[in-house]
Each structure stands twice: as structure tokens, then as C-alpha cells.
Symmetry: C2
Subunit: 353 residues, 2 copies
Amino acid sequence: MKPKNDTFLRALLRQPTEYTPIWIMRQAGRYLPEYNQTRARAGDFLSLCKSPDLATEVTLQPLARFGLDAAILFSDILTIPDAMGLGLYFAAGEGPKFERPLRDEWEIRDLAAPDPADKLGYVLDAVSQIRKALDNSVPLIGFSGSPFTLACYMVEGGGSDDFRHIKTMMYARPDLLHRILEVNAEAVTSYLNAQIEAGAQAVQIFDSWGGALSHAAYHEFSLPYLERIISGLTREKDGQRIPVIVFTKGGGLWLESMADIGADALGLDWTVDIGDARRRVGDKVALQGNLDPAVLFSNPETVRAEAAKVLQSYGKGTGHVFNLGHGVSQFTSPENVAALVDAVHELSRENHG
Amino acid sequence: MKPKNDTFLRALLRQPTEYTPIWIMRQAGRYLPEYNQTRARAGDFLSLCKSPDLATEVTLQPLARFGLDAAILFSDILTIPDAMGLGLYFAAGEGPKFERPLRDEWEIRDLAAPDPADKLGYVLDAVSQIRKALDNSVPLIGFSGSPFTLACYMVEGGGSDDFRHIKTMMYARPDLLHRILEVNAEAVTSYLNAQIEAGAQAVQIFDSWGGALSHAAYHEFSLPYLERIISGLTREKDGQRIPVIVFTKGGGLWLESMADIGADALGLDWTVDIGDARRRVGDKVALQGNLDPAVLFSNPETVRAEAAKVLQSYGKGTGHVFNLGHGVSQFTSPENVAALVDAVHELSRENHG
């Protein structure tokens, strides 16, 4: 069934809308006091992700405050490697880590895509519960990390600023990295299809680290696996098209090739001028983005002025979903988020209809 | 007087050369055991920078090992804010920090460009000594951080992954940031001119953090100050042109505008295909780069193959200075650096003459 507000879905499919829809990456996050309360009740971040009740609660929190046009499943990008047995944990103040990083050839040969129903049921349960709780008000976005981004964490064993281990593998043993990426692509495909089956009405693939690659390496180690996933996704359910958004952070140089892999929309970080991006991709895809999240450190007047610039740069017509160029920072004032959502809704009307 | 090997200078000016010259960002660094010995003798990194004798010693070390086509002054990018009185220090394993970050309006109003002869004499002494020690074998490159990159460290008080303080200032009080950038531009101009006076035969401006900006913010807060510096630099000395290289890491989207600010060459990080970059900038500037430093984690055969790809992508003719797309990592084996230098010299001959 179509959500009452399906502006987001129509914009992704480049169908006419009355205004530019907006959602915000990491909209259920630490900048919201109510999120921090739920998280404290959960005990730790992983328990929050693994409880469908609490995941539903935090998914809905930003929608109660702001007039957002979509909800996004609250979960972690590393659920897949966790389900593969790598042992995800969060060290205090340090970000995600794996107990058993993937380095040895035999471990890589043994790697297998997890069955989502078996190992990731808590995510699918959250999707169903959130859909029920949303009661068809706005669409629900499912998501996954990209094969390359998952591989970064799996091989490095956590975040990295130089990607030393995965890039050593990439240049010295590309066969091993391709093997990991094949398994990851299979895992992401069945994970996203299971989310769609459970009720996700659009999906986004976060290629958070693709921008760390060279031009040639991106086209060998990230993009083809994104394309493979997209070709394996359920694209229609109950008569509704399920749009796919691909977001490679730092991928602004490669938009032309990204527009050719079958995605409905591309996410943009804030380094690209969205008007230039639109001219480069033409009618092939919708665009999502791309305000610098740091604008939200300023004040409501500046937020409104900067939002207006993004809308103006995109220009008239549909095909734009407003978002930040990256997740909202924990140091953001909710007041500025409210100003952003209102500004986009008000100011964008003249671009439409 | 012209150096015996002036291939680097000719390539920057797009004059014919017999092969593609190469130098490597951070070539005097922690991947070299002899560098670590000198640094241990100095006691700490800042003492190494501030001793002209030791700075000369480490500047020459990579030239003794590898057939590099240029030397680069060993120094730190934060000497200017240190000379402004911000109190540069290095906490163990943490990178550079300032004792007194620049946040208050009155401090910003009071900020003044230091007189290089007075406050940065140790750098100028190092330049003279290195020139003497090089004995006109290869050219010496002087350098500085860009106004925006210096401002990042000055306002954040150290490195940052979200640039929260400087971007808050940028969006909420752009007038204050412009004031800092004006002072920095004046400081960088006189600092680079003093290095040229002391013997630097080319200069590079490192805009290491310009790529963290939005398209619009880069064109307001970084690029115009780079242009202002370039227009104030000594461009000829003793009948020799002094080429200027501008390197904005993450600036691949903005090459067209960067090519218009009067620089002789643009540095490229590894995300750009250098052949595409050449088509985009045309005959306006030479290009420097752009191998992924992570290639040097592999093995001599792979290094040779990847270097060949960069040379092939650039194609025939002059105007290319080979380099990495970022500084060489401390985890690099010197054997792979040797393989890179030899590969570039051997394989590039067919692009020339």
C-alpha cells in the first residue's frame, strides 16, 4: 500500500511532487536527547540495534519532532560481518571493531554469506514493527553497507585512516579481495531483499569508503559489486516500485559511471555542486543531498539561506531528495534540524508544479 | 644557477624533458631508518625541524638512496601559526596541537603575519644550507600550508575529522574566518618569498584540507586566498622562473577553477584519473601525481605495473611530474620506493622525445 505521504518515493522515481522531500542520514541519532535516553536504557549501542522494540522506538523519534518525508531503519552498517561471525563490538569512544579481522587466506576461502532469516532476524523484525508503527504515514528506507565498505571494516578490523591492510591486499592479492567482495555482494543482495520482503519501501547502499579508492580501483573493486547487487534486488512489491539509492561518499568524480549501474538515485556528499551533478547525470537518476552537515552548527537563519542555495542549484523540476551530504553530527542542535526541514518544505515549492 | 638535473623544473613549465621526473611527498620521513636515527638524535620532531643542520641532513637522505629529481625542504606545515604565537607542540602519537587555539574575536583581530626573517630564520637557514649541500645537483622545493589548511589547525587546535570549530565559524561568522585567511595569505606570501630569496627553486602550497569544503565554500574560503598568494610571489630569480605548485587534497572536482589562479602546476591526489585531469585543464598547467601511496605496500612488480598505468594515462608529452597522491606512509618499504623511482625513469622515456 502506498504511504499517505509518498513524496519521497515519487521524487526518487522522478515523478512530479509538490515540494522537495527531505530525510536526514543518521536522523535517529545522538543529537536527540530522547535517543540518548533510549540508548542508555538499552545499555549499549549493539543491544539497541538488536532489540526490534527499541530500534522501532528510536526510528520513530525524529519523525515525532520534524516533518520528515521518510523513516530509515535504525540499525548498524556492520550487521552482515557480525552475522558472518567476525565478532562486532564497540569499544568506548572508539567506533566499531571486530574481534576477528579477516586476513588469512583460509578464512577468506571459508567466508560465506549469512542467511538473513537465520542470522539477521532481529533486523527483519525491526523492519516489520517499524512498518506497522508508521501506519503508512511515510515510507520506510532499508539499508546496507556496500561490499567494499564492509570489506574495509572486515579486513582492517575497525575504522582506518589509511586503509593499509585492505589496500595491501587489493594491490598485492587482488584475488583475495575479489573473493571477499563476491561473498559480500551476495550477502548484501539477500539482506536487502529480506528487508524489502519485511516491508522496506526503498533501499540505500552506503559506500562510505569507496571514495578512498583510486579512479581505477573504484571501477574494479566497488562499482561492479554495487551493480551486481542492484541487478539482484526485488524492484517491485505489491505493485509498487522499490527505488534503490547508491551513496559513495567522495564519489563526486565518478557520477557518470555511477549513473549507469541501474540505481534510481545517487546520494551526493557536499563537495559536489548539485546543479553540476544534475547536468552530468542528466535524466538517468534522481539525486539525493547534499548540504554540508556543518551548516547545522550555525543558526536557523544561516541554515535556511544555505538550504535555499542547494535548492536553487538543483533548480526546477522533480528528481531531488534533500538530505545532508553525510550523517548528522551528534553536536547538532535539534532546533537547526527543525529549521532545515521547514525551510526545504517551504522554499522548494517554487521549484515544483 | 640552473641545477645539473633540471628535469623537474622543465616539466613544471611544460618544456621538453627526456623522461618524467619524480619526487615523493614526505620523501624524508619515517619509512627511512636513517631518518628515524636522526630524529632520535634530535630528541623530538620540532627540534628536528628547528635545527638547520639536522633538517639539511634529513632532506638529503632520500636523495642518497634514490634517483629523485628534486629535494624538498624538511620542515613542518605549521611553522607559521607557531611563529604567530599559538604554541605548536606534538603530543606523543597524536599529531600536531596548539596550546592556544584561535577562537575569540579579540584574538582574531589581533592576529598578525609574522616577519619570516625575525621568527622563521631557522627555516631560511635550512633552505640556504640545503642549497649549499645540494651543490646544484637537483632543484630544491620550498613549501607552505595554504591559508585555509593553516586556519583549520589554528581554529581546531589540532587535527580534526569533522572540522567542527572552523566550520561553525565559517557558517556563523564568515567575517572572522575571512580575517584569519587574509592574515594567513599575507604570512604565506612573505614566508614563501623568503624561502625563494634563501634559495628555493620551486614552491608548493599544501591545501591539505581544502577538500573538506563544499564546492561553494572552497571557492570562497580557499581558492581566492591561493590566488592572492600566487599573485604576490617572486616568480623569477637570477633569470630562472620559480614554478608554483598548488595541491588541494580532495580537490579533483575543482581542477578547472584551480587551473585559473596562476599556478604553474596542480598536484593531484589518487582519486582522479590523471588522463581525465589533463583533458580538463588543457595547456593551462602541468600536473603532479598521482599514484595511491598504498601501492607502495605491495611489491616491486606491482609498483612497476601501477606506475606504468599512471604514465600511460597521462600519455605522451611533457607537463607531468610523477609523485604519490599524498605523502609516503611510514609503513612503506624503501625497496618499493626504489622500484617506483626506477620504473618511472625507465618506463617514461617512451612518452618523451
